[in-house]
């Protein structure tokens, strides 16, 4: 899933302080799971903003709504009828949702309420770690299910670098060396396999990407 972290309330206040009618818009998907932008976080932020403005002696309308997703037309359409009631939206969706929202309702300023961080997994509640960099050409079949693109700081594709020590990466002692994890999995034979050069054009180096599926398009 896409992992995001809450933005400091001060930062959000600074962005929206001159508005009078604000909608806090949550997303029921990834950001709900990582407890950054779901219905509850919408409630907390909205309550805090309402109190902040009241304390400043200002009457600002702060409403709450959480959509199933903000990265699909059909769900974003659900708020079309009410959008004219607001002069700003704080979207607690990931960067994708914020942008899609801004494209659809470009007449209304949309502010991000979370910092989108990475594609990751929930190791346990309150701990999310990166697992994928969406490089566009998955090599996990050849790396024992451990991704050197996302889990090796240098994105090295042929074994550990000289900085790996006692199974840990040189950039941070808490980070496992992706290649030494392979050793733990008893996949050392995989070290010997020589791979062809990875096609990085499917990664961000090739600019913004798209997936086109004409077979499912209408």
């Amino acid at each position: 899933m896409i992992v995001a972290d809450r933005k400091p309330i001060e930062e959000i206040i600074e962005e929206v302080k001159n508005h009078e009618k604000i909608l806090i818009l949550g997303c029921n998907e990834c950001v709900t799971v990582c407890e950054a932008g779901g219905k509850k976080e919408v409630g907390v932020l909205a309550s805090a903003l309402r109190m902040y403005f009241l304390n400043q002696g200002r009457e600002v309308k702060v409403d709450e709504k959480t959509l199933e997703r903000q990265c699909d037309h059909e769900y974003l359409e659900e708020i079309r009828d009410v959008m004219d009631q607001y002069d700003a939206v704080v979207s607690l969706a990931c960067g994708v949702g914020v942008q899609f929202m801004a494209e659809k309702y470009h007449e209304c300023p949309i502010y991000p309420g979370v910092d989108t961080c990475f594609l990751g997994a929930t190791e346990k509640r309150g701990l999310w770690t990166e697992r994928c960099q969406a490089c566009g050409q998955c090599i996990l079949a050849r790396t024992g299910g451990i991704c050197p693109v996302s889990r090796c700081a240098k994105r090295i594709l042929n074994g550990p670098c000289g900085g790996s020590a006692k199974g840990k990466c040189e950039i941070n002692k808490e980070i496992d060396c992706a290649w030494e994890l392979l050793k733990a999995l008893d996949k050392l034979d995989d070290y010997e396999k020589i791979d062809s050069i990875k096609d990085w054009s499917t990664d961000r180096a090739g600019g913004p990407r798209k997936v086109v599926r004409e077979d499912v398009q209408e």
């Binding site: 001060e10 309550s47 109190m51 902040y52 304390n55 002696g57």
Partner: protein, 116 residues
């Protein structure tokens, strides 16, 4: 025991302080409460293992938010006692009341009155 404690404290029963969420605390302040405190079991003695520890973290979250928006984090507190400690319950109520009296009324309550 017939213990005395300040009468202006409204008790809300919950099955465990682990039920108390940051949203409950914030909504209480939004509705005009001058202070909110959670009284849980002693740490390490939670019947549900970690309910009182969760409550403490949530109270701390609420404190941070209240500080940020200028209401004052001190208005939210977490206390712990065991179920047989009635006198401590009364003592916490007195302590909390004194704290709030020093801080004065919730500014939200005043702002709402002004706006009305």
């Amino acid at each position: 025991m017939r213990l005395q404690y300040p009468p202006d404290i409204k008790i809300i029963l919950v099955p465990c302080t682990g039920k108390v969420d940051v949203l409950h605390i914030l909504h209480a302040f939004e509705k005009g409460a001058d202070g909110v405190y959670a009284v849980g079991c002693m740490e390490g003695d939670c019947h549900y293992n970690s309910g009182n520890l969760r409550a403490r973290k949530r109270v701390e979250q609420a404190q941070k938010i209240l500080d940020t928006i200028g209401i004052g984090g001190e208005r939210a507190q977490m206390y712990n006692l065991s179920s047989s400690e009635g006198p401590r319950f009364a003592q916490f109520a007195v302590e909390m009341e004194e704290r709030i009296r020093k801080l004065g009324p919730n500014p939200i309550k005043l702002a709402k009155k002004k706006a009305a």
